[in-house]
């Protein structure tokens, strides 16, 4: 198995974090993983993206110009990356911040989900990107929701442990959306 995904959005949306979580989960499952952030100028601000590869074989390139999946958390990201996705690939787009009309192709599987609303719905206002991650995992089965939960736990320790349930709820809400389209 081999999966690569580019996740992209605004700096504050927790893009690097969800990438990291996915990689961590893969690792917990004994798979090879790489996590590669993008980096801007020597300077603050702007957009962020990260490429995660999960595979049961030695991983070559940690970057790709032709990923199987893209998670786009805002308009500019969807604009930039939707065309990169391989035919038959997967696009997860956050319609709370991106217009679905941006995607002009029909050779891919696309999940248009209002991440912010979904997160708010489960009381996880700041975890919109977790819903996207949940949807992604649901669609691809790259890692189990369970491994993702463990990754979350290894991340949010001490004082932050209290945020675990909220994030798990967001992940599950996202997965549900992916399954049921709502």
């Amino acid at each position: 198995m081999y999966h690569d995904v580019i996740m992209a959005g605004f700096g504050g949306q927790g893009i690097l974090l969800i990438g990291d979580m996915l990689a961590q989960a893969g690792m917990i499952m004994g798979l090879n993983v790489t996590w590669m952030p993008s980096y801007g100028v020597e300077m603050r601000g702007g957009t962020a993206n990260t490429t995660v590869v999960v595979s049961d074989k030695r991983i070559g390139s940690p970057i790709t110009g032709r990923p199987f999946s893209v998670i786009a958390m805002n308009g500019p990201s969807l604009e930039k990356f939707n065309t990169w996705v391989r035919p038959e690939g997967l696009i997860i787009a956050n319609t709370s911040m991106a217009d679905k009309s941006i995607v002009k192709r029909d050779d891919v599987d696309a999940v248009f989900m209002p991440c912010l609303e979904l997160a708010v719905e489960v009381g996880a206002d700041r975890a919109a990107s977790m819903t996207a991650l949940g949807a992604y995992v649901e669609k691809t089965g790259v890692v189990t929701i369970d491994a993702l939960g463990k990754a979350l736990e290894s991340y949010l320790t001490g004082k932050k442990a209290k945020f675990i349930p909220m994030n798990k709820a967001a992940i599950e809400r996202g997965a549900l959306f992916a399954r049921e389209g709502k």
């Binding site: 020597e42 300077m43 603050r44 601000g45």
Partner: protein, 258 residues
């Protein structure tokens, strides 16, 4: 005054002419923007846009050329005063200034700064002191205050081992080659007015061939200080100014060559 002037309010404050009409890349509340404005205002005031050459140090101010409508040279990190020396020796009748951060000028570039000052090069040095390496993500600078936490002084700067926040203006004022040395801030309208006066004075004295002129501008870096702009401005007032006192430290009244 015509009646028209009474009727229709006139623009009394706006974008200086030499400041290109583009937005800054700086973070919200970053004082680099204020300093850029002041430089443009000084250039406009003396009408020297066409004979001014700026030398940008490497730091958040490196994109000077995107904003000020003059010829600009990008110097290696810390060497702006050496570059400015070269430029000024070739064009002695031009206005030459450097724009440098505290990492740039007080750490890696301290030798070039001191020696350019000591030689009395006819240049103006604008020194944006924000107690941190802004561009590279908030590492400790020579001007970082004692106890200040940065990404490379995670336990707070200690004088034992890491040394004291260095006072560049004071040090340079001791050199015979400097004609004008001042420290200003951007945190209040009053301080901004004083800062403008100092920058203009420095340009004027350069134009009058009085020698090396230096203005240290205390500035906020909200991003790397981990504060919002308003709090950052308060920090300038409450922590920086007490350690780095404002004022004109030196002002020569007769030119060096007289």
């Amino acid at each position: 005054m015509t009646t028209e002037a009474k009727d229709k309010p006139k623009k009394v404050y706006g974008r200086p002419e030499s400041l290109k009409d583009v937005g800054f890349h700086f973070c919200p509340g970053c004082n680099h923007g204020n300093v850029h404005k002041m430089v443009a205002e000084a250039i406009d005031e003396f009408g020297v846009r066409e004979k001014t050459i700026g030398v940008a140090g490497v730091g958040c101010g490196v994109f000077l050329y995107n904003y000020i409508d003059i010829d600009v040279l990008e110097a290696p990190h810390g060497r702006a005063c050496a570059e400015a020396t070269g430029v000024s020796r070739v064009h002695p009748d031009h206005v030459v200034f450097t724009y440098q951060g505290d990492g740039d000028l007080a750490a890696i570039g301290i030798a070039e700064t001191i020696h350019a000052a000591n030689r009395g090069e006819h240049i103006t040095v604008l020194f944006v002191n924000n107690t941190v390496y802004g561009m590279t993500g908030g590492q400790m600078a020579p001007t970082t205050l004692l106890g200040q936490k940065t990404t490379t002084s995670p336990y707070g700067r200690e004088f034992m081992g890491e040394g004291y926040p260095i006072k560049m203006a004071e040090m340079l004022a001791t050199l015979e080659g400097t004609a004008f040395v001042a420290r200003v801030a951007c945190n209040t309208p009053k301080n901004i007015m004083a800062a403008k006066r100092a920058i203009k004075k420095a340009f004027k004295m350069q134009i009058d061939k009085m020698g090396f002129t230096f203005v240290e501008i205390l500035s906020a870096c909200p991003t790397n200080w981990g504060m919002d702009a308003v709090t950052a401005n308060k920090r300038v007032e409450e922590e920086m100014i007490p350690y780095f006192p404002l004022g004109i430290l030196k002002e020569r009244t007769t030119a060096d060559y007289l």
